[in-house]
């Protein structure tokens, strides 16, 4: 990985775009499958993919920019909105999708669902409880540190989570013990219906890093190149044994908090399409001569093929047998 402070080179930028396209293609497919069978009307418990569904459209720059610096030996802990991070971190799409469909070939054999993706192969996990993915990341980093490796743990939350006790306790402890953690905050302006201005006393969570004596950076404008550069610094610092950093990215939630959210609370709905980071990045890379229309089409087609294969795999996998419902409580 060529990581320079001057920003990513052409090869890296193509990769960032490709990752973002894969993430978006995935969310579009889940969106389609989720709503396919919810009627008449909308019944959250119905369909091939029942339950709450938090999709990540718009937040791809965070996943792509951060995970580009990781290998599958590094850990990622994510939130209720985990798909983009899981994909960018290299999770097997078939096992992931089968879990979202609640099938036996899913990562959690249908027990977990979309907020509970646990993948030992990529050291990925997530939690539906706000900010509670931060503390376990400390432990993963602790294990990496104790074993003398240069592996890192990346802990991701939304900006709403930065007002939770677990967030602050984690920053302090990681700083105190110089744990190799990169704390990432995805600031999408909203915690469900509550705007950042009504939840957070400071304009940037990056400033909160100062309270724990660690570097804090905020990337504006959902800029994947800038995310990549800032994450590169934070990951390098952690790998070098210099301890944790905090990175906040101002991103955008293009869709509802969860599917079925009418978003009546949200005044900026009309301007959202203009804030989509993917066409914007495509235009930039095209202008820079890094991509052309044919390459973009090829990437989209390849992403679509992978995603549809994963969906087909999930649908072909068996439903869990009710007589196994009590399994896996203990090791």
């Amino acid at each position: 990985m060529s990581s320079t402070d001057s920003g990513p080179g052409a090869e890296v930028r193509r990769g960032l775009y490709e990752t973002m396209v894969l993430c978006r293609t995935y969310e579009e497919a889940i969106l389609r499958e989720y709503h396919a069978d919810k009627g008449p009307g909308f019944d959250i418990g119905k369909g091939l993919v029942p339950g709450e569904m938090h999709l990540s459209a718009g937040q791809e720059p965070v996943a792509a920019g951060v995970c580009a610096h990781l290998t599958s030996d590094d850990a990622v802990t994510a939130t209720h909105r985990p798909h983009h991070l899981a994909i960018a971190h290299g999770m097997d799409l078939e096992a992931m999708t089968a879990e979202i469909f609640g099938r036996v070939d899913g990562l959690g054999r249908g027990r977990g669902g979309h907020m509970h993706l646990f993948d030992p192969a990529t050291h990925f996990s997530c939690s539906g409880i706000i900010a509670e993915g931060y503390p376990p990341a400390l432990g993963m980093a602790f294990a990496f540190q104790r074993r003398g490796t240069d592996r890192v743990a990346v802990a991701v939350t939304g900006e709403g989570a930065a007002n939770q006790g677990a967030f602050h306790e984690s920053l302090n402890l990681a700083a105190l013990w110089r744990l190799p953690v990169v704390f990432v905050v995805e600031d999408n302006d909203w915690g469900i219906s509550v705007p950042r201005s009504a939840s957070t006393a400071v304009p940037s969570n990056a400033t909160r890093a100062a309270a724990y004596g660690i570097p804090g950076e905020r990337v504006e404008d959902n800029d994947v190149d800038a995310v990549w550069a800032a994450a590169g610094r934070a990951v390098a610092r952690a790998r070098a044994g210099d301890g944790p950093s905090l990175l906040e990215v101002h991103t955008v939630r293009l869709w509802g908090h969860f599917e079925g959210d009418a978003q009546g609370y949200r005044p900026e709905l009309a301007e959202l399409p203009g804030r989509d980071p993917i066409p914007r990045y495509a235009a930039r890379l095209t202008d820079a001569g890094i991509l052309d229309a044919a390459a973009i089409d090829r990437m989209k087609a390849a992403a679509s093929e992978r995603v549809e294969a994963a969906v087909a795999f999930a649908k072909a996998s068996a439903l869990p047998d009710p007589s196994d419902a009590l399994d896996f409580v203990f090791a």
């Binding site: 027990r111 939690s127 009504a198």
Partner: protein, 344 residues
């Protein structure tokens, strides 16, 4: 404080459970300026499960307050405001989230009155959504009322039917002790979730208070007592109707409150039928179902003509996949099997 069972005589107006709950909050807020409501997404959104719809419009943002996602801070704030004589209603969006703020609940809200030798009161309501049945997974589907009821110092009410949702809310707000008010998502009558017709029913207009700690025989019967709470009341009534067609007379006792528990009502019902089925959407062990059985066993095991049955959530986290979730939830099929088991 006096609590009256003021049943409006000719009430015909029908409301769903969420509207009935909100009506009581609004009436109490009009009557008492010390009452305020705070929590996540309770303002403009109106509560994720419609627990506060319309309250912001009527009472404004000083009394219907959206909080940061800081449950320890805002539940603790409610505790402190209550000790200063205000009457806060604090909403924990899902009962499952109590893990992040349990200390304020059980070591503070629930213990201050005792520790102060009765000198400091904590007149607050903790509202919270409970229950599964729509594939929300292991962290968003629990009822956990047994946990709250286990810890002394807080009353616990769990309405199943719209009128009780209103009357118990009014009682909870007026109570001088902390009251945990647990509403099952499946009884609220939400437009976006499968619902039982019983989630819409006649609700008295005007002031209506249901005393905390009094169970209700929602269906009289002579063969079997089904003792239960919350959404399981709806299911039990469905099963009772079905079995009536076979000549089986099922009594359904809706406990309505877990703390205090109406043990007299349990004993009276089992004394009549001799057969007990305790139905509980909480975990099987160390919880409500065991407490119900123990209530009878301690009083007079001779009341049991046959060994009692418990139809509960087995001691397993609630699975996501529909096929697994419905295998563990106490729904119609399992309740019916429980009843048939004690009839053998």
């Amino acid at each position: 404080m006096t609590i009256t069972d003021t049943t409006a005589p000719q009430a015909t107006r029908r409301l769903n459970t969420s509207k009935a709950m909100v009506e009581a909050i609004a009436q109490e807020m009009r009557a008492n300026p010390e009452v305020f409501y705070l929590g996540e997404d309770v303002g403009r959104y109106g509560g994720i499960f419609s627990s506060t719809t319309g309250l912001l419009d009527e009472f404004g943002p000083n009394r219907v307050i959206d909080t940061p996602i800081s449950e320890t801070a805002f539940l603790g704030l409610a505790v402190g405001a209550a000790t200063e004589g205000m009457r806060p209603i604090a909403e924990l969006m899902f009962a499952d989230f109590v893990g992040v703020c349990l200390d304020q609940v059980y070591n503070h809200m629930a213990k201050i009155h005792f520790e102060s030798g009765g000198h400091v009161r904590v007149p607050m309501v903790l509202t919270t959504a409970v229950g599964g049945g729509y594939s929300d997974g292991a962290q968003h589907s629990q009822t956990l009322w047994g946990l709250f009821a286990h810890l002394p110092g807080m009353k616990v009410v769990v309405p199943a039917l719209p009128a009780d949702a209103k009357g118990l809310m009014a009682a909870a707000i007026r109570d001088d002790s902390p009251v945990v008010y647990m509403f099952h998502k499946g009884v609220m009558g939400l437009p976006w979730m499968a619902k039982n017709p019983r989630s819409v029913d006649v609700v008295p207009e005007g002031e209506y208070v249901v005393p905390i700690g009094r169970a209700n025989v929602v269906r009289e019967g002579s063969d079997v007592s089904v003792v239960t709470i919350s959404l399981s009341v709806h299911h039990a009534l469905d099963v009772a109707e079905k079995l009536a067609g076979e000549g089986v007379s099922v009594e359904v006792l809706d406990l309505r409150s877990l703390v205090p528990l109406d043990r007299e009502a349990i004993l009276a019902s089992v004394a009549k039928t001799g057969r007990l089925v305790a139905v509980d959407e909480d975990y099987h062990s160390f919880g409500m179902s065991g407490e119900v059985v123990a209530t009878v066993a301690e009083h007079d095991p001779g009341l049991f003509r046959v060994a009692p049955e418990r139809v509960t959530l087995p001691d397993v986290p609630i699975p996501y996949a529909h096929s697994l979730e419905y295998a563990v939830l106490p729904r119609h099929d399992r309740i019916e099997a429980g009843i048939r088991a004690v009839l053998r």
